[in-house]
Symmetry: C2
Subunit: 311 residues, 2 copies
């Protein structure tokens, strides 16, 4: 029996990391990236978006990428969907996790999916029903993902009440997990704790919660630690700090998976991740993606010899 990691990390580079690039990353490179992430021991991968190619051309090949990703049967392969149609495609592909996104900001929701929050919730309920209509073995997990939960570059401040309302609506509609996303990276450690704790009170201790953090203003890791301090043990992160939302001006990359895993291991949490292997993703990315998009402290500094024992 392999012990479950103390902290569960979902690698989002193949989806969030690529969606904002102005180059199309070839299908084989996407598959190689996913293979490398699997080889490093990451337990869950957000492998793509089921969105119309007209909206995000990067995912025109999502069916091929998913078919390949799903050959890794021991890894939870998930996909982001913006609506019922996307969820239908994801289910047809056989993904194991569906991340259904609704923004706590009415303005960002309109920009992102051109629907009201209430209209989106209708779609979420329909996805739940469609999942439940499938045989038990073919039912993916359904996450309700709250975008702009810690601020919005269009709308500004997002109230605790708005986030709690959406989280409760997700829970009542049968979400298996709730994600809280700092889509634009405006969170501070105090705000992270405040919103997480409010949502914990709102949906109860049985509901798994996940943090998705962007490091626009340098607070990404401080925010992750704030999450740890209020019992979050599930995080999204992206290798080489890739990421950004095409419909949220100013958003920068996700917190860096390799830096996060290294910090967590040094803090005494297990992640199940082989850092040296994870860092091999850089080479795959560097062949297709401009250097300016590839960040990360560990890649710059190298894993210090003096800390090898601790990692």
């Amino acid at each position: 029996m392999v012990r479950a990691p103390d902290v569960h990390i979902c690698e989002v580079a193949p989806r969030d990391g690529l969606q904002n690039l102005d180059v199309f990353v070839p299908t084989e490179a996407k598959c190689a990236l996913i293979d490398a992430i699997v080889a490093a021991g990451v337990g869950e991968i957000d492998a793509g978006s089921f969105v119309p190619p007209k909206v995000v051309p990067q995912f025109a090949d999502v069916d091929a990428v998913m078919a390949h990703a799903l050959t890794h049967e021991a890894t939870t392969i998930g996909a982001l969907v913006p609506n019922f149609k996307g969820a239908e495609r994801a289910m047809a592909a056989g993904v194991k996790s569906i991340y259904f996104v609704i923004s706590a900001s009415e303005s960002h929701n309109q920009a992102n999916v051109r629907r009201t929050i209430e209209e989106q919730l209708e779609g979420f309920r329909a996805v739940r029903a469609a999942i439940d209509a499938r045989p038990a073995a073919a039912r993916p997990c359904l996450m309700g993902a709250v975008a702009t939960a810690f601020g919005c570059s269009i709308h500004g401040k997002i109230t605790e009440a708005a986030v709690c309302h959406l989280a409760r609506s997700f829970a009542e509609a049968g979400a298996d997990e709730i994600g809280l996303a700092d889509t634009v990276g405006y969170g501070t450690p105090g705000l992270i704790k405040q919103i997480v704790q409010a949502v914990q009170r709102e949906v109860g201790p049985q509901m798994p919660l996940r943090l998705h953090l962007h490091d626009t203003l340098g607070t990404g890791f401080a925010n992750a630690v704030a999450g740890l301090e209020v019992d979050i043990r599930r995080f999204d992160a992206a290798v080489s700090g890739l990421g950004g939302c095409p419909f949220a001006p100013g958003a920068r990359g996700n917190i860096v998976t390799e830096d996060l895993a290294f910090m967590l291991e040094r803090m005494g949490f297990s992640t199940g991740i082989d850092l040296d292997r994870l860092m091999q993703t850089r080479e795959i990315l560097a062949r297709h993606i401009q250097a300016k998009h590839l960040t990360g402290h560990l890649h710059e500094a190298g894993i210090p010899k003096a800390l090898r024992k601790a990692a």
Copy 2:
């Protein structure tokens, strides 16, 4: 009456930020940098090192730079010194704060100043006596700075006992303040809290403590927040994230002043710093320093309009 800031930030770019560069920054540029930092409202500046120019050529002009810096009478102008001779020069120059550095790592101390910790402490005591021999109005503050307090790239792990011993020795020898430096950036939030609290118990609640953090591995801000949570209200930081120790292999830049100030203000702490003005330091630096050395999230992202009210 101007209210004192909740968090005191000492800007160290003119010293720590320049010491590791392979270009000599012209005296006028150093002075312009200091002027810009003063104009931004920063209360204390580490303006240079009184070290032999053979050891660190960057500070060959330290007397001229200090003479200029000290025309800013409302700002605490300080200097780093590695030994008694350096402190004599600093006092002759009229600096208001002397940062006397001893490493908690015997190996780093040898590499840094080629003396044992005990020999260094003798030097510190001599400086204390020399300061006390001066007229009261001409006595600078004396900080005992503990280098490699959270790990050492040469020595590896540094024990809590080693840091506490040095902190207590500083306190017993009459330090006015104690600095704890993560010289190589190996700290994690848990370690920061552990060491700070141990030192607080060791030297008592009356002794001002300051954190000096490098962001080698991405944990700089998480470490700063950890410091805040154990009542640290004094931080070193460097504009554009400049910094590194010439005698500590692998060390990267200090935590970024403008990013730190922005985070603190958004967390409800006052810093007394005018961010727009502080960010003008970038232009001065960019004229003389290679772009690869100039980091910082706020410079990359810009101050988001949606957060202007909060800053």
